[in-house]
Symmetry: C2
Subunit: 454 residues, 2 copies
Amino acid sequence: MINIDKNLIQQLNDRIQAGQDKELRAWASDLHATDIAEILDQMRLESASYLYRLLDTEVKADVLIELDEDQRADLLSGMTAEEIAGGVMGQLDSDDATDVLSELPPNKAEEVIGHLENDERASDIRDLLNYEEGTAGAMMAKELVKVQAEWTVTRAIREIRRQAEELHQVYTVYVVDTEDRLTGRLSMKHLLLGAESTRSKIAELQKEEGIVTILAQEPSEKATMLMERYDLVALPVVDSEQKLVGRITIDDAVDSIIEDAERDYQLASGISEDVESSDSVITLTRARLPWLLIGLIGGIGGAYVIGWFDIKENAEMALFIPLIAAMGGNVGVQSAAIVVQGLASSHINTNNLLRRLSKELGVGILNGLICGLIILGVTLLLNFGTSLSITVSLALLCVIIFAALFGTFVPLMLHRYKIDPALATGPFITTVNDIIGLMIYFAVGSLISGLILG
Amino acid sequence: MINIDKNLIQQLNDRIQAGQDKELRAWASDLHATDIAEILDQMRLESASYLYRLLDTEVKADVLIELDEDQRADLLSGMTAEEIAGGVMGQLDSDDATDVLSELPPNKAEEVIGHLENDERASDIRDLLNYEEGTAGAMMAKELVKVQAEWTVTRAIREIRRQAEELHQVYTVYVVDTEDRLTGRLSMKHLLLGAESTRSKIAELQKEEGIVTILAQEPSEKATMLMERYDLVALPVVDSEQKLVGRITIDDAVDSIIEDAERDYQLASGISEDVESSDSVITLTRARLPWLLIGLIGGIGGAYVIGWFDIKENAEMALFIPLIAAMGGNVGVQSAAIVVQGLASSHINTNNLLRRLSKELGVGILNGLICGLIILGVTLLLNFGTSLSITVSLALLCVIIFAALFGTFVPLMLHRYKIDPALATGPFITTVNDIIGLMIYFAVGSLISGLILG
């Protein structure tokens, strides 16, 4: 890995200024496309386009898909449809080509497709553009190697060689029947081992059992889940007639696993857009405002709850407002996070709602009793007074139990109504638990002071 | 995918009771090892061992590594060292075999190694056990296919076939020199395409440029990062002399990506151990208590902060305690989350600490001004009184700016001192921000009431 820093960018800019194309080309030829893309991302558009134009066509394609979306859009907007079609489209896998096209303005995308020399490619891309976003079909690539079950090994190897020439990487060889329906697969290992008996049929070599497939219209999350669950490097995609239409490769699944994890993490941390630390101050502020605004509304709600209670007469109740509010929020987030992860890994489904809630009730009671007893002891010891100590510890017990149940219930309900349960780990649960926690606290406070006065 | 539910488990238990071994075997032979493992995880130990013993040896190995750690330990404790060595160890890849061994009691592990028939295997496993946990060496497997650069294609193919027989899956063929030093690789595609010119040397076919490697002693996170960054399906591991010692495959990298993401997510949600929704009430309670206890300490600290201030005389100040505390915590968590993700994706390093902080200052001021102005308008509109409205909005501005800077600073410092920055997203930042937020609020309150009275 190359160290990408300000000095490097400066050096490159100097060479670009000096027009040292040959040196720049030689330097780039030693680098991995991912590294070149990261360097281009950190350059101004003019320098980046200059450097990009110096790259070999094949490298250009690899670099293009690794660029940040903004930088890619800028680079492409400076190229004609013919340049795009001739220069890089031909080198991209069909799924990447489709992604790039869908980022272009519609007119330009059509123009690019029109310029694609190879008819099959253009039709592959049109085909992929038809699948709805978020489906396995939209995630797959059309490039794959397939042979017919009735072929001899000799013929199959000849065909595999021909097909492999157009591919970046061969993962598996799929076996289909004469109707193009998937019947099995050949691993490279089997092909290597079986290649000696050149006259035997592929049908005898293929592995039929346990082949995992996905329908093109199924959601892409299912594809990722299947690949993760069954340790697959490539997943064949079929249509409703079991015909092989494409394949999803592990690198795309890894990207989507990482994206999902980052998204869930950001939602749990109260960040509403997909942002990176390198984004602008405005973007970062905008991504963070929604939760803060919900927090403000909650805070004003909290002020009213406290206002209902005669706080002047019982000013010492104010002391433990932060404790009650914080604990309600914390417990709620914990409970919601466990449900969200359980749903993601399919350990939980909404059928056993009652079982989940009763288990959470157990956890809530146990945590509540432990925390309540600790706070009772500590507040008595620190001389906060008997009635306040009892109020705080009793309220805390109730708040923890309520927050645990509420934190479990909300994401399960969201999931049942097909809303992303990760939304619940952020603002909503914390804010509601804050307010309800305060209500419980002051209700217990009134009750206890009523009991003592009465 | 099979639907695993109570009915299925009941059916299987009935068949086990009835001793229908043949039917059970036939049923299992249609299933993927991952599914069998999930079913065994949900059965009692006796039924699970009964079913496990019925499986084919090869399936046994695959199922074993997919089991939950507890269930695997239970199953293995019921088997003799000889059974383990003969039954499943021979079928496992060396990395999985090493993992299983390291879970056994040390005596039994030694006994199992002693029983391994194949000498090379035992030495492979001993070798792997020597690498420190968390290194690339401890993550890799010894199984790989390698050829020498000077061999002819014919000889190489013969060797590849021989070596492939012992492997589950061939990803890449590595090319080494006579000293076993990695010089390049052959993709399956190149081998298929080049296989016609059988007398040419491998050195002419191999791809030398851009081959990414990792040293055995480097951390396993770097291996995962490299595979993700460069879209690798397998990563060769070398020693300090560039000799090829093993390879890491994408399925292991995916597992580790998911584990890390789950861990960060749990830390951000205040859960301190790796738990699943299916764990016991006690385990779940224990994993959640640490943050709650820190929250309690913070809450008591908050009580003292409020106690310093004459809350009886200014009881209306109590109304906005929840708002100030919540906003401080929220902003801190947001800032920390952005730093943690930036560090994980190497977008941030600790060299540009000042730049990060000044950017965060910008975000803090912007968010603080927006939220402060909103709350000023709303509280004035809702008749909370001029002096309280000014106090709340001014305090909120300060709290948001402070929390943003603190939330950024802490994970960066933890990272600099080699402590996991994800720890900062949980309890620590929220609690400290709660308390300091209250201090700011009451300090501003004293100042404003002093100004008004004075």
